[in-house]
Symmetry: C2
Subunit: 287 residues, 2 copies
């Protein structure tokens, strides 16, 4: 195997990766080679453009740390994440629709009791969130694990703050009650630009795109015998619903965050200023 030209090299590499013993690794490797080679043959990069691509990917990897995942951002902004999501949820079969995980989920978020305020001391309008978790047949999913996370009033997540400023906040793990219901207090999140001070931000700028996402609250919900649900609920009326930088908006996930004057909230709490209320009922597919 020598003397390859731009057409014969693809078969040579496909043959080589075909030595993989795991059939799935072989299948993926062969497809990666065929599609990347087709891309290169179409684009016909100069050596300098190839080196620019190497440097872009290198910077993207080096931007990643325990609080930032630039390759997820790259996947999100190229529509790959929503494509993978679509492939894995072809039919909702009555379940709540899914959307991207995003780069800000933290494993094992702080455990909270139902009714807790998960954002104590944070500036912003109070938000009362309640809802239910049920199977697509309507059966409540008692004890379902409900992870939530969202941005602050300026559009930043806790993990984007300098170390140790606030610790983990605006995120929590709840366990649904005996009726599959949950409720908690937090602050109303704002629309925000995805982190754009790195290579992905450079890419968006070069592509003439804005980095904004419409305001939303993330949910990841799990219950025995059911598919894990990863989704957001978007704030109705947000100006970025039709131009989400990561292509994640679905109509069924847009919901009113209802404004209320100061007074007594649904859980009996007295609130001394205007607050918002979100109620959303989630349905999970059986495994």
């Amino acid at each position: 195997m020598r003397n390859f030209n731009e057409f014969t090299i693809t078969d040579a590499v496909v043959e080589r990766v075909g030595n993989a013993s795991d059939p799935r690794i072989r299948e993926i490797s062969e497809a990666v080679v065929r599609h990347l080679h087709a891309l290169v043959r179409e684009v016909r990069p100069t050596q300098d453009e190839w080196m620019a691509a190497v440097n872009f990917l290198t910077r993207t990897g080096q931007m990643c740390n325990d609080k930032r995942q630039e390759f997820i951002l790259l996947s999100d902004t190229l529509g790959i994440s929503m494509l993978v999501d679509a492939i894995n949820h072809e039919q909702s079969k009555g379940a709540t629709e899914t959307t991207v995980l995003g780069p800000f989920y933290v494993e094992s978020p702080p455990e909270h009791e139902l009714g807790d305020n998960i954002s104590p001391g944070m500036e912003g309008a109070p938000l009362f969130v309640s809802g239910s978790v049920s199977s697509t047949d309507g059966a409540p999913l008692v004890g379902a694990v409900v992870d939530v996370w969202h941005s602050d009033d300026d559009g930043y997540y806790d993990v984007q703050q300098p170390d140790d400023v606030e610790g983990l906040t605006m995120r929590a793990r709840f366990h649904a009650d005996g009726n599959g219901r949950f409720h908690f207090w937090t602050i109303k999140p704002a629309a925000y630009p995805i982190p754009h001070d790195g290579p992905v931000g450079d890419m968006l700028e070069a592509q003439g795109r804005h980095p904004w996402r419409p305001a939303h609250v993330h949910f990841m919900i799990s219950a025995p015998g059911h598919e894990r649900l990863v989704t957001h609920v978007f704030v109705a009326g947000d100006q970025y619903l039709d131009s989400d930088a990561v292509f994640g908006v679905k109509d069924s996930l847009i919901h009113d965050f209802v404004e209320h004057p100061a007074g007594t909230a649904p859980d009996g709490t007295t609130v001394d200023r205007r607050y918002f209320e979100l109620t959303y009922d989630f349905k999970l597919n059986k495994d």
Copy 2:
């Protein structure tokens, strides 16, 4: 733009990146989106496989530093680098054939005088290298800049050694003489495995591939009015010529490294043990 499925999302992302003001960035962005989406639709990754890909790319970036370029290794081992090389050198038009740059080139290598030993104190068989640089019309390229670099007797480059063990060695920059000729002493390089203690090594193992490259000396040669030449000369008879891990071998680049007994070398040097001799004449295309 909402509610995308696995087919509609590609057009949506292509439309979005079509805002790029630079037509080349627009062309590349659109092609990247189309080909990557086609790959994803063919392979149909699970969410876990997608996350494994994110983690693989992240590790690849994080493995890079000023002495290691894991994304070039990835490009090399997937045949991308040789494909880009082929696209940029469709016709050799009489010039020396090209091959991959590889990850071990160092900008501004140590300047040496013709005749110098560029690997003093290194173990291995002495190697006398000489040759010429000319234009494809035969005119000698006086003062051509000749960068050379190669591995040691164990197959390692200087930059793979722990910091400050040897500094830069087995690499140099020469200036061809008034006849476009150059000569120097070094040691005979060995075949070597590309660095395989990182994600690319894991990939090769999963694909059932060995990481070896046949022994070679790298050359990068520049002269005014001519295309820069990036190539290697491979040692004839090497066992890996037909299975180079990076697909870089071309017959015209395989050459005898002639063995000589102890005695007087072509430059008059007395050598007290067997040594090798490589002579190669390089031809550069005009711009």
